[in-house]
Amino acid sequence: MSRLDPTLLPMLEAELRSAHELTAVERFSQHEHEGAGRYVDLLPATPPGAGQQYAFLVDLDACTGCKACVTGCHSLNGLDATSGEVWRQVGSLGPQAVTSACHHCADPACLKGCPAEAYEKDALTGAVIHLDDACIGCSYCTMTCSYEVPSFSDRLGIVRKCDLCNGRLAAGEAPACVQACPTEAIRIQVVDIAGAGSTWGLAAGPDPERSRPTTTYVSSSPPAVGPVAADLRPEPAHGHPALAGLLVLSQWGVGALIAGRPVAALALVAAASVASVAHLGRPLLAWRAVLGWRHSWLSREVLAVGALLPLAAANAVAGDRLSLAIAATTVGLVVVGCSAAVYAVTGRRWWRLPRLLVLFGSTAAVAALAVSGAPVAVVAAAALAKLVVEGTVLRHRGEGQGQLGRTSRLLLGPLRGRVLRRLCLLAAGLTALAVAGPVGVVLLLAGDLVERGLFFRASSPERMP
């Protein structure tokens, strides 16, 4: 190795030292920023009056799809950098870029579904605000919102979403996305809440009648409907294993009650209760889950499970006394009904109420037959009937667009392996039932858990472009 000049080391130390000195502030002038003045003409002149609220107005002609609104919102609102959290999305309908954030609905489905009263609609501005500290992290709003706006943060265990920069509007400043848009394609207007949903302006995306979004899209040539990105490459959704556990275990618990197996029923209902709490991002706040009972089917489901657990316990202790068994079974059926309603209100086509009632009910029925030791042929007949309910969606596999086409293509495509696993467990369960009953029961239960995971993974809501 060559000999280095001995003066190199001091020079190296000096360079390393100066690399860590930050002196821009001392050396350079400070500039007053021009304030929010530039954006004032993108805000309404007067605040909303009675029966009115603020809303986004998007000029599709002006939007070039540069996505500065997404990063501007991210930076000006200090969103999570590690996960790349975003409150705005830019999709496309053919060549037309479509920017969207929370639509601050007149009839917000996130708020209605929230079991923990973690949402409020600001009385003055109409902004739909998520109260981060009230959130229990159940993720239910990620399913009830048609626009997939609330997003769950693994780091925090709660969801977060766009707040219309409510504080900025209160201070007369433009929301971050409005400030960030180089072509002034996003602005704020005042709308009549009564008319919300009728000024949507996009032929694509979820039905605006459902929650009545207040955003208005305007364009000189409204983009045609076509397949959205999700149609071309559908991607599996989250599997929510704890929720799958809650559903299957509670329904099997009801089955065990019907079958007159009080101890098994108690164990299953207790496990379901544990799963329901384990599912939460902030389990210590689980008690909040009942606060929304007046409007949230999830709260009602929680209350019903809460009532079922002591009844099942009492029934187990009392050794299946008839009055207790009837009471527990009745409450159990209420749980099954609530569970079906929880998912039916999301408006997803694969989760229509009649189908869910049949699916969840047949889960309890198969369980009842299996744990009661009914003849294998009877169990098999019931399980196969349930399988038909699970699989009917596949008749939509040829549809290039739409929810059910995506669901069936997910089941036949990326989720093929899980479907196969579900079928194997069913076959193995029925076989085992004949030779070693308890093993068969466990395998059938496991099969239903896989089925319920697919219930979440393959579900594809109506998507924004």
């Binding site: 190795m1 280095l4 003066t7 360079e15 390393l16 690399a19 930050l22 050396r27 350079f28 002038s29 500039h31 920023h33 304030g35 929010a36 309404p44 002149a45 107005l57 000029d59 002609d61 070039t64 540069c66 996505k67 997404v70 990063t71 000006l76 609102n77 200090g78 950098a81 996960s83 790349g84 959290e85 975003v86 053919g94 060549p95 981060d132 925090l156 265990g157 900025r168 201070a171 400043e173 400030q179 960030a180 848009c181 180089p182 072509t183 207007q189 949507w200 996009l202 032929a203 605006p208 045609a224 409907v225 076509g226 397949p227 071309l232 490459r233 902030r282 210590l284 549809e399 667009q401």
Partner: protein
């Protein structure tokens, strides 16, 4: 960490009013001070306000009071701090992958290159520079390598983007001088974009164009229906590499119909008769056939240009990357000159640069030319530079450097044995990268200097030197409109990473040539020296003598000669109608179009176009790929655009997996079927490493800039199987035949935006 339910999450998102009129900002990122610096991605040269806490930048917002961007930034600028904080930043030198201290790394550097120079002569080593570092660093790099260490060969990645414009400008204008200022976008009544996807490549310039109050005609000449073409008033879907024929057809009609500004041509141009003779041979019917457009398109467009009051022409890589690139760029210049569209507001033949400091590289990198647009071969030029810098004149090489492609050829032939690569990712960005990876491994010594040790190129390095990035050092950059802007250190580089400036000073010292650079202590010292080197030349900025002056003025365009200020915020060149040629005349240069040397054939029937794919991706994504939020803003996987008719022939539906193969390699990706590309074409974004496995550098003979935009390829379906493919094709066909549905009940009427004060009541 999840709190499980204890503690507050809400504080994290609280916003409070920031100082200095910033408006509300996140409370936890509340700045104590702000300072502005120009962005380090593209050549637009936007200014960003760094929000500082303890002197360290914690957030960025676009500067409102800066002429260039006026409060806007693209996604890359907004999130420019994130890549600096990436967990895999290089923090220490690596020798054969092993962390070593700087003194050992410097010794290895000196041993490696001095050993090769001693054994094989100075022409056995070369460096590859960049348009991404500051002018001061470029100047020091060229000086240390060529004057200090005796290198002869060094080129930059600017060869891949701007070499064509440089050559065209020198011949037509007499100096490499883009004549415009961005305000010209706002003052034209006709804007002609040739091979430029402005809305994606330069979003803020597209914004400036949108602000043109005169609702100009926007003409986009591009094979692809780009985002820019979709937003234009006219799209001319020229055949790939049919642009020179198209331009000659336009010139033909302009001349034939008497739309020439004869006064301007007579007074200010030379070579008109030769140009007219060439154009005469390209009547619209002939031009239209080669260009793949209708004669009516050419006739109409020529009249639009000929009759426009202020017509500006803007070109980028569609022109610059071609087998006949310089002549095509000059045909654009010719069209502007003969119609008198030069030197007036809203006019010009305007090459938009790519990288943030490609313009600095063109003046100061000591690669293709000597400082300030001088020539290595010219003895007077060498003497001038030697005197100003205080160097012995004989230390400046009198031979020109090999160009990028020649350096690669040199590695292949064994002539080049040592290579030093700075702030560029050649193993990703050079064509036929499959071969290049092997060539890099065949080198005796490869040094890579970058922010990250695992770029495609750095993975091949024997010696890796960790560099500070944009925002971690001081210096200047020059944007497309010749505006010198300031970058400042607002972050600490991680670990032992050092600015390229510091690394170069240490290398000079270790090599034993530090005395030559005794006056080069700080970037600002070098900036003043560059001012002296520019004095008396078209790029004269000797009137700017401090960083503070630049900062106060919000950037200053050259020329800014000593004793001439103060200068207006936006200035264009050639307002007096005089070029930089000694006679003051512009040169009209014309050439016959030649067919592409590698046309599509039966084996490779489609022409692969490449270009930028997203406003959130920068070049090889060394930086933008490390931003989680920017990664979300582009497709999650590589998509190839195919025309629906070709896709139908291939039985490929939207979303299907396909293989794209050229004579040089093949890649797997998914098809995106539509009418963005024309029949016979395919498009891949350049940001994906797979793309340049297919391309192969055919270079322009004058600029030696490679063409990336016309590689013959074949596309073959992979998945799904034939049966599913047929079903999907049927679905796709149905979708295509379905006419646009009526907007849903209550959908927006066909109106323009209501005035801002309007509400829905």
């Amino acid at each position: 960490m999840r709190s499980l339910g204890l503690g507050s999450c809400a504080d994290e998102l609280s916003r409070t009013s920031g100082p200095f009129g910033l408006g509300q900002v996140p409370s936890r990122l509340q700045p104590e001070a702000t300072t502005r610096l120009v962005c380090g991605y593209c050549s637009t040269g936007c200014s960003l306000d760094a929000h500082l806490r303890d002197g360290q930048a914690v957030n960025l917002t676009p500067t409102r009071a800066y002429r260039v961007n006026q409060g806007s930034a693209c996604p890359k600028g907004w999130d420019a701090l994130t890549p600096l904080a990436a967990p895999d930043r290089a923090t220490t030198p690596l020798l054969n992958g092993r962390p070593v201290p700087w003194d050992e790394a410097l010794a290895a550097f000196v041993d490696g290159f001095s050993g090769l120079i001693d054994a094989h002569g100075p022409e056995s080593v070369a460096f590859l520079s960049t348009g991404q570092i500051t002018s001061e660093e470029m100047a020091l790099l060229g000086a240390v390598a060529k004057v200090g260490m005796g290198f002869v060969h060094g080129d930059g990645n600017t060869r891949q983007c701007m070499a064509t414009s440089v050559a065209a400008h020198k011949q037509s204008f007499g100096f490499d001088a883009p004549p415009y200022t961005y305000a010209d976008l706002e003052a034209s009544d006709v804007v002609v974009l040739v091979g430029s996807n402005l809305a994606v490549a330069h979003p803020i310039l597209w914004e400036r164009l949108q602000r043109n109050p005169g609702r100009p005609e926007i003409v986009v000449i591009d094979p692809r229906r780009t985002e820019t073409a979709a937003g234009a008033t006219r799209h001319v879907p020229v055949a790939p590499k049919g642009d020179l024929a198209l331009l000659l057809g336009l010139l033909h009609v302009v001349i034939r119909d008497g739309l020439v500004d004869t006064g301007f041509v007579a007074e200010h141009c030379r070579g008109y008769d030769e140009l007219a003779a060439v154009a005469h041979r390209w009547p619209p019917v002939r031009a239209a056939e080669v260009a793949g457009v209708t004669t009516a398109t050419i006739e109409d467009l020529a009249r639009l240009i000929g009759r426009g009051r202020a017509v500006s022409f803007w070109w980028t890589m569609g022109v610059n990357q071609s087998h006949q690139a310089v002549r095509t760029a000059q045909a654009v210049i010719d069209l502007a000159l003969v119609t008198g569209n030069m030197g007036r507001p809203g006019t010009g033949a305007n090459s938009i640069t790519g990288q943030c400091n490609a313009m600095g590289s063109r003046l100061w990198s000591m690669t293709a030319s000597l400082y300030g647009g001088r020539s290595f071969e010219d003895e007077t030029d060498r003497a001038e530079v030697a005197e100003i810098c205080g160097w012995p004149a004989e230390r400046i090489p009198s031979r020109p450097s090999m160009a990028y492609d020649q350096i690669i050829d040199g590695i292949r032939s064994g002539q080049i044995k040592g290579l030093w690569v700075l702030a560029t990712n050649t193993a990703h960005s050079w064509g036929d990268r499959g071969e290049l990876a092997g060539l890099l491994d065949s080198l005796d010594f490869l040094v890579v200097q970058d922010l990250y040790a695992d770029t495609d190129t750095a993975r091949h390095a024997q010696l890796f030197l960790p560099a500070a990035g944009w925002g971690e050092k001081d210096g200047t950059m020059i944007n497309s409109e010749r505006r010198i802007g300031l970058v400042k250190q607002v972050r600490r580089p991680p670990g032992a990473a050092l600015s390229d400036f510091s690394i170069l000073r240490l290398i000079a010292h270790a090599w034993g040539c530090g005395d030559l650079f005794a006056d080069w202590s700080t970037p600002e010292d070098v900036f003043r020296l560059l001012g002296r080197l520019s004095a008396g030349r078209p790029c004269d900025h000797s009137g700017v003598t401090s960083y503070r002056q630049l900062d106060d003025a919000g950037g200053i365009q050259w020329p800014a000669a000593a004793g001439t200020g103060p200068w207006e915020a936006e200035r264009r060149l050639f307002e007096d109608g005089r070029s930089y040629h000694p006679d003051g005349l512009f040169r009209l240069v014309a050439a016959e179009p030649e067919p592409t040397p590698r046309p599509a054939d039966e084996t490779f029937p489609l022409v692969l176009l490449t270009g930028r794919g997203s406003t959130a991706s920068w070049h090889t994504e060394t930086r933008t790929g490390r931003s989680p939020v920017l990664r979300r803003l582009k497709p999650a996987e590589l998509l190839v655009d195919l025309n629906i008719d070709d896709a139908t022939d291939l039985a490929v539906a939207d979303g299907h997996e396909v293989e794209v193969a050229s004579a040089f390699g093949s890649v797997r990706c998914r098809a995106r079927v539509g009418d963005v590309v024309q029949r016979g074409q395919a498009f891949l974004p350049m940001h994906d490493a797979a793309t340049n496995a297919l391309t192969h550098p055919v270079v322009d003979p004058i600029s030696r800039q490679p063409s990336y935009k016309d590689t013959p390829v074949a596309v073959r379906p992979i998945r799904p199987g034939r049966r599913q493919a047929v079903a999907d094709m049927a679905t796709m066909g149905r979708l295509r035949r379905t006419p646009p549905v009526e907007p849903r009940k209550g959908a927006a009427p066909k109106v323009k935006m209501p005035p801002s004060e309007a509400t829905s009541q």
